[in-house]
């Protein structure tokens, strides 16, 4: 018998899994072979070590939760019956075994795949749960599809109904049960208001004809519970829907409505609703602001519309989800609205520039977007390393900027304290990966340019072609900065706006979207006259209790890094993978910004206290030139900074004022980009080179570099987030070995 076979016998001997003949043989060999004896001993020691491993216990009793999750289910509830006669089909198997049932999800053929921005989410439904399922994009690999199929099997439990934990639906279920009773009574009394009728699936307004309407009804009804005005608004908003894109099916015709089913139907339809362009988004935005903002800030949020969308409601929702510390009067109504928003947050339609959203759905969109922001806000884009030297430089820079990361090996998965992974993946897989990475991400993303990653030959031949300077890395605002922003943003906000208005970019230099935004907002008009002091005072007063984008940036960053409990709760229940389309869309938007990194003259930074803080490490003293209007071409940058949105102002980590790069905030990139425009800042002290703002986003973006970090467990996550406070604070002494080869 060979040595290998004998060793295998030793292993089995240890497990007492040998036949008597084999045992006899091995024992004979063991008596003569010291090597085998040693092997046996080492395996025994291994076993001892295994047995000494700490036992991991769940932090909470899972039984209650499981029972809640399975409450609406029977053990045979996941029927395979199709509710879509003309549908496409996906075979979904849990991949468990033969005795595990595989499931056929019937899907509307017209919505079989997603492409992100404009397409509708396809919905898989089962008779009992009617849980929305988000489909795998065509780009995903078969493996990934299999993975997602397995996920769908799980997702079909009410736990993920609408992308939310059913525990979140508990109170909703009670409300909905009551509502359903009321609705049925109303129906039978033939006195059903038009906007409610489709919910019950009967009456002249069939669901097929009014799907987008019915999407909103339950929520409005629920909102009505919290705020009667909301329902009134809801009726107003209805007429703005131009009709369903999604050909829905009258579920009620197949089975009588039950409270749970009704909820699920509504949830499903929310996910199915249309994205037709609204001609009156601002009107709905006001309503949505009301829904989302009332009770959070204690009043309506009349803030500026930076992107042509309803930022305020989104911001309010973000705060609600992000667990903003008490900036406003967080009262009971706010809690109600927050929970409603979270429950409604199953609409995967993102807020995206150029695609107006159904006004009636905008609240859901915003809640989704807000959640998505929560989920991916820690993606940090830095400039493209085009050579191994740059990668090394990047690592060095990151290490120097991430104070506690000096021992970090960026090339290992989940290493050390930060657990960081450097990933080079096709963009088509980016968001799938993010989806899988899920809910505890801290991601740094490096975006390659349109040409994709450089070949090794190219690296060899032109290693320094576009080397990056360490301080040019754009890194999201760290905690300390966020805190400063939080403290100062109210005071600073309007003065920034005022300064911005003094250096507005002429219309001819603006993108179409900017102009559109300007037109919509009425506040960013080109060459607008600076407001008078009285106007400023009035505006400040009117904004006293509102939240600026920097508030939001600070709040979201803070809530992330300081581990606000509500944020963690939201995050815990939030499954990024359920938000696939949103994430994709937002990544696309982020990609736009990441590749539109612009170089900013420190003088322009002077216009922004936040940026000044970032660049100057908090000790920045604005020079006298601060008040000087900038050249018009600088306006975009300044505007971008001022409009820094939910993702937080980005700053040049470790920079000292020498031509730092600044990327627009998450929501601002679209406004501030002049795509394809060449910008030069000849007066910049760093003599930064001319830079062409990259054209267009995702389609050209082929590969993405991600630095992914993740927490370990809730407790350590809190800990690590506390650590992150330090990790993310730029060092007071920026690195001196700055690579200036791109001059």
């Amino acid at each position: 018998m060979s040595e290998a076979s004998l060793e295998e016998l030793v292993s089995a001997y240890l497990d007492d899994e040998l036949s008597s003949a084999e045992r006899q043989l091995l024992e004979t060999e063991l008596a003569q072979n010291p090597a085998l004896q040693q092997l046996l001993e080492s395996l025994r020691l291994q076993r001892q070590w295994f047995r000494a491993l700490p036992r991991h216990s769940l932090p909470t009793d899972l039984s209650t939760r499981i029972l809640e999750l399975t409450k609406p289910l029977s053990t045979e509830s996941l029927s395979t019956e199709s509710l879509f006669p003309d549908s496409g089909t996906i075979e979904s198997s849990t991949s468990e075994t033969s005795d595990e049932t595989s499931k056929t999800l019937e899907l509307p053929a017209t919505n079989f795949s997603l492409s992100g921005s404009a397409s509708e989410p396809a919905v898989a439904q089962t008779p009992s749960t009617l849980t929305p399922a988000i489909l795998t994009p065509a780009a995903l690999t078969p493996d990934a599809q299999a993975d997602r199929a397995a996920s769908r099997a799980i997702d079909q439990t009410p736990r993920y109904a609408g992308g939310r934990h059913p525990a979140d639906f508990r109170s909703w279920s009670l409300v909905a049960a009551s509502l359903a009773t009321v609705l049925l009574a109303l129906i039978f009394w033939q006195n059903v208001p038009e906007y409610i009728r489709p919910l019950a699936g009967i009456g002249p307004s069939s669901r097929s004809a009014n799907a987008p309407h019915s999407n909103e009804n339950l929520e409005d009804s629920i909102a009505f519970k919290a705020s009667p005005e909301a329902d009134k608004d809801g009726q107003q908003g209805e007429s703005e829907n131009s009709g369903p894109i999604f050909d829905s099916v009258d579920m009620a015709a197949k089975s009588p409505p039950s409270p749970n089913q009704t909820i699920a139907e509504s949830a499903t339809e929310i996910a199915k609703g249309d994205t037709r362009v609204s001609s009156d988004s601002s009107k709905a935005a006001g309503r949505d602001r009301h829904l989302a903002g009332e009770g959070i800030a204690g009043k309506d949020l009349p803030g500026k519309d930076f992107t042509g969308e309803d930022n305020e409601a989104k911001q309010a929702m973000e705060i609600a989800l992000g667990g903003l510390p008490p900036l406003g009067n967080v009262d009971k109504a706010a809690e109600n609205n927050k929970s409603i928003a979270m429950r409604q947050g199953i609409d995967p339609q993102p807020i995206s520039p150029g695609v107006d959203i159904n006004p009636k759905r905008s609240e859901k969109n915003e809640s989704d977007a807000a959640v998505a922001v929560v989920g991916i806000q820690n993606i940090w884009f830095v400039e493209i390393p085009n050579s191994s030297a740059q990668v090394t430089q990047l690592e060095k820079t990151l290490s120097s900027n991430f104070v506690a990361a000096n021992s970090l090996n960026f090339r290992e998965l989940e290493t050390g304290k930060l657990e960081v992974l450097l990933v080079d993946i096709p963009r088509t897989e980016l968001f799938q990966r993010l989806v899988e990475i899920g809910q505890s991400t801290e991601v740094i993303a490096l975006e390659y340019d349109a040409a994709g990653p450089p070949s090794s030959d190219a690296l060899q031949s032109a290693p320094q072609q576009t080397a990056i300077a360490p301080q040019q890395l754009s890194i999201n605002a760290p905690n300390q900065l966020a805190q400063n922003m939080l403290d100062n943003s109210r005071a600073n906000f309007f003065s920034q706006q005022s300064q911005a208005s003094q250096s507005i970019v002429p219309n001819e230099n603006r993108s179409g979207r900017e102009l559109e935004t300007i037109s919509e907002s009425g506040e960013l008009a080109a060459n607008q006259t600076p407001p008078s002091q009285s106007e400023i005072a009035k505006e400040i007063e009117s904004r006293q209790n509102t939240l600026s984008p920097n508030d939001i940036a600070a709040a979201t960053v803070q809530s992330t890094y300081l581990g606000q409990q509500s944020f963690l709760e939201a995050k815990k229940n939030f499954r990024l993978r359920d938000q696939q389309p949103i994430v994709e869309q937002m990544l696309d938007e982020l990609a736009v910004q990441s590749r539109a990194i612009r170089r900013v003259d420190p003088q322009s930074a002077n216009q922004s206290p936040q940026l000044a803080q970032a660049i100057g490490g908090g000790n920045f003293k604005p020079p006298a030139s601060r008040q000087a209007p900038l050249p018009s071409k600088m306006g975009g940058d300044l505007l971008g900074q001022n409009n820094g949105g939910a993702g937080g102002a980005e700053f040049a980590g470790g920079g000292s004022g020498n031509g730092a790069e600044v990327a627009g905030g998450n929501e601002s990139g679209q406004n501030s980009l002049n795509r394809g425009q060449t910008r030069a800042f000849p007066n910049a002290p760093g003599n930064l080179p001319v830079e062409t703002v990259a054209q267009g986003p995702p389609a050209n973006s082929q590969r993405v570099l991600l630095l992914i970090g993740r927490g370990i467990d809730p407790k350590s996550q809190l800990r690590s987030r506390a650590d992150s406070t330090n990790l993310l604070v730029p060092q007071s002494n920026p690195p001196t070995n700055i690579d200036r080869s791109d001059k």
Binding site: W49, P54, L78, D99, T141, I154, V391, L422
Partner: protein, 197 residues
């Protein structure tokens, strides 16, 4: 009440019976899945998903194996799904994209001063963690099943859906690989003082 009775009760509509199954097995399952996934949050998700899935599929459980084996198989497949998605990430440095010295939290590691022996034990455990992290998912899984779950080869074969003979050979290879990793991690000084070679 034994598992079969609890399952029957669950099938009869007594959902609390399933809750008792959850209570009975949640920590055991979690402990193993943590080792497979090496990420506690993921493990929590997987365990929860597994129980939910088990509940929904309970009608298909035929009792040919123990409930826990069946449950573990569900959980393990969910875990593998998750691992697979992780693995499909390609590192910038292709040579170092393995799941490596993952810092799974070591609850036993105490910051307080402790006797040398305990320090040594903790160090051993830390190394074992690291070495486990360097194993393939396949090998790590089978070691968890055998060493942590203490399952016999038949049960392992059922969970992994492989023949018993394969269990034996794979387990052997996994042990050998683990041994190599442990050796690799030990510096010469340590190596000389340890018998695990």
């Amino acid at each position: 009440m034994d598992d079969q009775a609890l399952i029957s009760a669950t099938r009869s509509g007594d959902r609390s019976a399933f809750g008792r199954l959850v209570v009975k097995y949640q920590d055991r399952l979690f402990n193993s899945i943590v080792q497979v996934l090496r990420q506690e949050l993921d493990a929590q998700d997987v365990v929860q998903d597994a129980f939910v899935l088990a509940f929904t599929k309970l009608h298909s459980f035929q009792g040919n194996s123990s409930f826990y084996t069946w449950l573990f198989r569900i959980a393990r497949n969910l875990a593998i799904t998750r691992l697979r998605s992780r693995k499909s990430m390609v590192s910038l440095d292709a040579g170092t994209n393995e799941m490596s010295d993952q810092p799974l939290r070591l609850a036993v590691v105490d910051e307080q001063p402790m006797p040398d022996e305990r320090l040594q034990r903790n160090e051993e455990i830390r190394r074992l963690h690291q070495a486990l992290g360097r194993l393939s998912d396949e090998h790590r899984s089978i070691l968890v099943l055998r060493e942590l779950e203490d399952l016999d080869y038949d049960a392992i074969a059922e969970i992994l859906q492989i023949p018993v003979g394969t269990v034996r050979s794979r387990l052997h290879r996994a042990r050998m690989q683990l041994r190599e990793e442990l050796e690799r991690m030990m510096d010469p000084q340590d190596r000389s003082s340890r018998s695990c070679k």
